[in-house]
């Protein structure tokens, strides 16, 4: 008779489960991208390539004032001097910046006053993406600004917001209608020459969202933007600017998808947040750009600069991101903690599979007294992907009593993927307290065994373990997004080990 302990061992480590989980990993790796279709909609584009004339053309098409054009041209000149960053742990073919179309917009676009005037095909597209603009119009839920290729096509709930004095519109509109605010804040957090991709974005950005919450106003609903790349050979360069004036509070969500194509497409966005005294900004992202097929063909290059400035005392900026898409991700949402007692937070789940590569993390720069920051990063690697956390915590000499706590956990599923952690800690003040913890492991056999012994299938068991692993981050997402993120995660793990 077989010893019971041997039988247990067989169950825990033996061939059958491993084989099964291998099959599941393979099945999951084969799963196709749900948002891979394109919309046949007539688009208005400009020639490929980048030079000063193209920038003039973009600016002209958008009917921008002279100062904006000057700003773009200055950024373009800075960009020409910039060198593409090479330090990230990602391998890719350098994009040919002259082969990209820097502007594409759905045609037939007179001034829209109402959603009913939006091209029905476009609305259908957004329905398909699960953004019911029509419904949103009626239900007081989330105010949505949808960006299709390069331009913003519809913004909902504007009236309700306007009553409170909140400005939520596309960037182009803001440039026209609120030039004083745009001039004051644009580039104040991410200067045009900040880095290679920020400079490129500053030169060619086509649209994006603009949010201004006036003094003491608490935004009554979550604001949301949905980004969609549709046309071939285009890059998407949106620019988002969120300003919370003294005592204001706002929660902002963004989501993104793109069709399947064999070529790589570039997405280089810039997001700037400004929080004045006592203001709070929560910024959540669920990123699901097309990630390329299982052999790593195609997919979006996601090179994004996101930064928030806690300008006033007791201000607070919180970044939450769920990253499941993109062939290459290069993204470090950061906080400049300038005001005394200001707080920065970063919660992130990054899942990579197939041949995806992600190098993502955050920067917390403590400048003011009693500033605090928390970093929770969870990375999950599957297939042949590479997933890195890279984060900087810097305590400047004047930042008395600054506190930081960092936790990075990595989960490896399958043995062809990689998980890496590259934290940087620069402390220049002796009252600083900086703690960093990291761990890397696979899903514990014990946990799986426990679940299975209670009749839960291996697939569900893994899903449970992974969801539990990410819970700390999901807890910080607004309700709707938490559901979406959880769903995205289970889709990624569907028919697999979690």
């Amino acid at each position: 008779m077989k010893e019971p302990s041997a039988a247990l061992e067989q169950a825990a480590y033996g061939g059958s489960r491993v084989e099964r989980s291998n099959r599941e990993v393979a099945a999951m790796a084969d799963r196709e991208y749900k948002y891979g279709w394109t919309t046949d909609i007539e688009t208005e584009t400009i020639p490929k390539g980048l030079n000063e004339n193209i920038i003039r053309m973009i600016s002209e098409k958008k009917g921008e004032p002279e100062w904006m054009l000057e700003w773009r041209l200055k950024a373009y000149r800075r960009w020409q001097e910039c060198v593409e960053p090479k330090w990230a742990k990602v391998v890719y073919e350098e994009p040919d910046f002259q082969a990209i179309r820097y502007y594409a917009a759905p045609k037939r676009r007179p001034q829209l006053n109402d959603l009913s005037e939006v091209d029905p095909t476009l609305l259908e597209t957004f329905e398909k993406l699960g953004i019911p603009l029509e419904e949103q119009k009626r239900l007081s839920g989330v105010a949505v600004d949808a960006v299709f290729d390069s331009v913003s096509v519809a913004t909902t709930h504007k009236d309700i917001l306007a009553k409170k004095g909140i400005i939520f519109c596309s960037m182009s509109e803001a440039i026209r209608e609120h030039p004083d605010l745009v001039q004051r804040y644009l580039g104040s957090v991410v200067p045009p020459g900040d880095n290679f991709y920020a400079a490129l974005n500053s030169a060619v950005f086509s649209d994006g969202s603009f949010v201004y919450v006036p003094k003491g106003v608490r935004c009554p609903m979550d604001l949301s933007t949905y980004f969609r790349i549709n046309a071939a050979d285009t890059g998407q360069f949106e620019r988002t600017l969120v300003i919370a004036d003294e005592g204001a509070e706002v929660s902002y969500l963004e989501g993104c998808t793109a069709p399947r194509r064999d070529e790589n497409q570039l997405h280089a966005a810039v997001v700037e947040l400004v929080a004045h005294k006592d203001a709070t900004i929560r910024y959540s992202t669920v990123q699901n750009w097309y990630a390329g097929d299982k052999d790593g063909r195609g997919g979006i290059y996601n090179f994004v600069t996101k930064r928030g400035k806690c300008l006033g005392d007791r201000s607070r900026i919180s970044w939450t991101q769920v990253e499941t898409g993109s062939a290459i991700t290069w993204k470090y949402p950061s906080c400049l903690l300038m005001g005394h007692d200001s707080v920065g937070e970063f919660y992130s789940v990054a899942l990579t599979r197939n041949r995806q590569q992600a190098d993502t993390g955050t920067k917390m720069i403590h400048i003011g007294r009693n500033t605090r920051s928390t970093i929770i990063s969870k990375t999950i690697s599957l297939g042949q992907s590479d997933n890195s956390y890279r984060g900087l915590v810097r305590i400047m000499p004047k930042a008395e009593n600054a506190r930081n706590y960092t936790q990075c956990d990595s989960l490896l599923i399958g043995n062809h993927c990689g998980a890496h952690t590259f934290p940087y800690i620069d402390a220049r003040n002796r009252t600083a307290s900086v703690e960093h913890e990291a761990s890397t492991s696979k899903i514990s056999e014990d946990q799986l065994f426990y679940c299975q012994s209670r009749g839960i299938s291996p697939e569900n068991a893994i899903s449970m373990v992974v969801n539990g692993f990410c819970k700390e981050v999901f807890d910080h997402l607004p309700m709707e997004f938490a559901v979406e993120a959880s769903k995205l995660l289970s889709i990624s793990l569907e028919g697999s080990v979690g």
Partner: protein, 443 residues
């Protein structure tokens, strides 16, 4: 703005290299040197735009035209004069002055038959050169312009060979003294430690300055080869002079089941970089790297620790502590790299730094790069001052603040050295801690 290191001159080194005689040396050695010279000519000097040197600005070293010590000069020292740097007792002690072996200061009487401890330069000129051939220049992979330069000169240093199955009871001390009698002298020191299978040894390497304020450079490369099941206790104490610089790369290659317990103590020097690389290339091998850096003034100490897990079931542990005062600066980089084959890896690292001044800077980079899924890897880093609660506790028991702080600081440092062996080495490090953080010093 810092001076550009990319275009810094190399001629002074190349001119000195041309003066090194080639005759009387085996052909493989001349080939190795020529090869390294070519690599040096091509290599850029390390600069802060390189990721591995991002926080370590060695422009002051690169831009100083050091003259290389290509031949020994009479040192005129006696054993008594350097007595406080020696351990005495039954130790095997090899003393080097400005990079060259000084037999009259050394003590080799405790040597046992079959083992070899002596000058690398001498061995390479003798038929015993075959001892070094399979390993010399072959272990070191982490190369930069300075290690290439070290191999190009390949003058003197220590060679230790412990044959298979020998348990060396007597500890070995390699003492490198810098006299500072010649301004701007560069010593290119090369050490090779070979432990055969099932052997055991304990080696302490000390770098110390004899006098004052001279500006010099110790460009050190060390190669350690551990045979199957070999055990090594390795301790390095860097106590260079106030203007002395130390750039070192140590690489330790592990065969199956071998273990190395290493400890790096840095107490003196203007710019010190200890790059300690471990390659666990045999199943079941393990290493334990400890470190303590005590820094003050405007000095810079960089500890760069790499551990490569290439085979399954290896374990590694890093525990590095530092105390920074005044305007000093320290860099800590701990990188654990786990290859796909290295399943069942168990690794943890911890770096803790205490800042005693608002102008001191620590850059800590504990990194993990992992490609195997069945591993247990953790790392942690902390930075902070002595907690006020603890200071309060001491004060409430009638101790003044200076004493309280000094005791807490010493306690913090002592925790790092608990495992250091042999005892005499631990006592010596403890003496350095006391010298720096006695109550009066911290006020």
């Amino acid at each position: 703005m810092m001076p550009e290191t990319k275009t810094a001159p190399k001629q002074h080194y190349l001119a000195d290299l041309a003066g090194v005689p080639m005759n009387g040396r085996p052909a493989w050695l001349n080939a190795l040197r020529a090869d390294a010279t070519a690599r040096f000519q091509q290599a850029e000097y390390p600069h802060v735009r390189m990721e591995a040197w991002r926080h370590t600005n060695i422009a002051p070293i690169v831009n100083t035209p050091y003259a290389s010590a290509i031949a020994p000069t009479p040192h005129g020292l006696t054993r008594n004069a350097v007595g406080d740097k020696l351990f005495g007792g039954d130790w095997i002690e090899l003393v080097f002055v400005d990079g060259w072996f000084a037999p009259d200061l050394s003590r080799l009487s405790a040597m046992v038959p079959d083992m070899y401890a002596g000058s690398l330069h001498e061995v390479l000129g003798s038929p015993d050169a075959a001892l070094a051939e399979p390993h010399l220049g072959k272990v070191l992979r982490g190369e930069n312009a300075f290690t290439a330069l070290n191999a190009a000169f390949l003058r003197d240093g220590a060679l230790l060979h412990v044959p298979a199955n020998m348990v060396l009871q007597t500890p070995v001390h390699l003492l490198f003294l810098s006299t500072g009698r010649r301004e701007r002298l560069a010593a290119h020191i090369r050490n090779l430690l070979i432990l055969g299978r099932h052997s055991q040894a304990s080696v302490t390497v000390t770098y110390a300055a004899l006098s004052g304020d001279a500006d010099y450079l110790n460009n050190v490369a060390e190669e350690i080869v551990l045979g199957e099941n070999a055990h090594l206790d390795y301790c390095k104490i860097v106590n260079e002079g106030a203007s002395g610089n130390h750039l070192a790369v140590t690489e330790c290659l592990h065969a199956r089941d071998s273990r190395c317990r290493a400890f790096l103590a840095t107490v003196g020097g203007r710019i010190v970089r200890n790059e300690h690389r471990t390659r666990l290339e045999g199943q079941g091998a393990g290493c334990d790297v400890g470190g303590l850096y005590l820094n003050d003034g405007q000095r810079l100490i960089d500890n760069t620790l790499h551990i490569l897990h290439a085979q399954p079931q290896c374990d590694s542990r890093i525990h590095c502590r530092g105390i920074l005062n005044d305007e000093s600066r320290a860099v800590y980089l701990g990188k654990v790299h786990v290859l796909r084959a290295a399943q069942k890896t168990d690794s943890n690292q911890l770096n803790s730094t205490m800042l005693l001044s608002d102008k001191a800077i620590i850059d800590a980079k504990p990194q993990l790069e992992i490609y195997a899924d069945d591993v247990k890897c953790t790392h942690g880093a902390t930075v902070g001052a002595p907690p006020p609660e603890l200071v309060f506790y001491f004060r409430s028991r009638g101790m003044d603040e200076a004493t309280a702080r000094a005791m807490l600081t010493r306690g913090f440092a002592e925790e790092a050295i608990g495992d250091v062996k042999p005892e005499a080495v631990r006592d010596r490090i403890r003496r350095h801690i006391l010298e720096k953080y006695g109550a009066k010093r911290l006020g």
